[in-house]
Subunit: 151 residues, 2 copies
DNA sequence: CACAGATAATCTGTGTGCAGATCAAATCAT
DNA sequence: ATGATTTGATCTGCACACAGATTATCTGTG
């Protein structure tokens, strides 16, 4: 029977909405990442910013916070906050930019690099397991269409 | 062309990781939903709980907070907090359950029902536009495999 | 009946996510 | 070069997301 829909909508039932599915999938993925990174005392966003900073430092000049945020796809304010936490943990260091006294240049410490290396292994393993049920390339193709520009 | 990778990983570059794409896609979707619901003074989670409560109330007995959380796929604590906000806005009402004095039965007010109806229209339009670039059925099929059970 | 264990709701505390505002330094236009 | 505008970083404040603890209540077993 028509499952009692007196609304001109499918909302609420088995939650067919792609948006709700997307949201729940991401929350589950976040929980998986949180669990994978917990032994390293890193959150997912902390990991993304740490690894992004490491990548930028290796493939060019060490970035300031705005450049790091652009690379990682995070809010500038978030980046400021999270980078401060990473600094407090001794994983990155912030120095004044000699070219722009407003900016702070971000460098990975040896401890940060070691932590990032372990985290990358853990995250990629968790990622592979999470997406194992589906065709990853196909999903990536669709998400690329939806993710939009970095900001 | 090997773009200078001395790590045994692809992390950081153009962000090929399905996890990161999933994360960014969901954040962008959240911004779209926030914008669509802003005129109605509702956040996305508030909308989900309001609409879920309405659906449950129409298709059976009005739920308590645990049942609502299970339906909506939200944390019990979140549900408690957000439902309190919805109550403060006059969109739902909480009554003591005569059968279980621990529980609170949630009912939609007329204002809540009106608000939910408008919100559903706005959200479904925004959803359709957001997912227009891709094959929605195909994406839903993949997300179903990944979203996991409601909790 | 009594009591252990489960359940409903809430509280504390940490960590995002983001809008809006502030402030100082850099850059642009005249 | 001087005033207007941008830009980099930070702050306030609100709203999730979730782990862990608390309180009150319910249920099952003897």
């Amino acid at each position: 029977m028509g499952d009692g829909q007196d609304l001109k909508t499918r909302f609420g039932g088995p939650a067919e909405s792609p948006g709700l599915l997307l949201w729940r999938t991401t929350m589950r993925w976040q929980r998986v990442m949180t669990a994978a990174l917990a032994p390293l005392d890193l959150t997912h966003v902390q990991f993304v910013l740490l690894a992004s900073a490491m990548w930028l430092g290796r493939n060019g000049e060490p970035p300031n916070q705005v450049q790091l945020a652009a690379q990682a796809g995070t809010e500038v304010k978030m980046t400021s906050d999270v980078v401060a936490r990473l600094e407090a943990k001794g994983l990155i260091a912030r120095e004044a930019d000699p070219r722009d006294s407003r900016a702070k240049v971000i460098r990975i410490t040896p401890a940060g690099a070691a932590s990032a290396q372990q985290a990358i292994v853990a995250v990629e393993a968790a990622d592979a397991a999470f997406f194992e049920p589906v065709d990853e390339a196909q999903l990536v193709g669709m998400l690329r269409q939806l993710a939009g520009e970095i900001r």
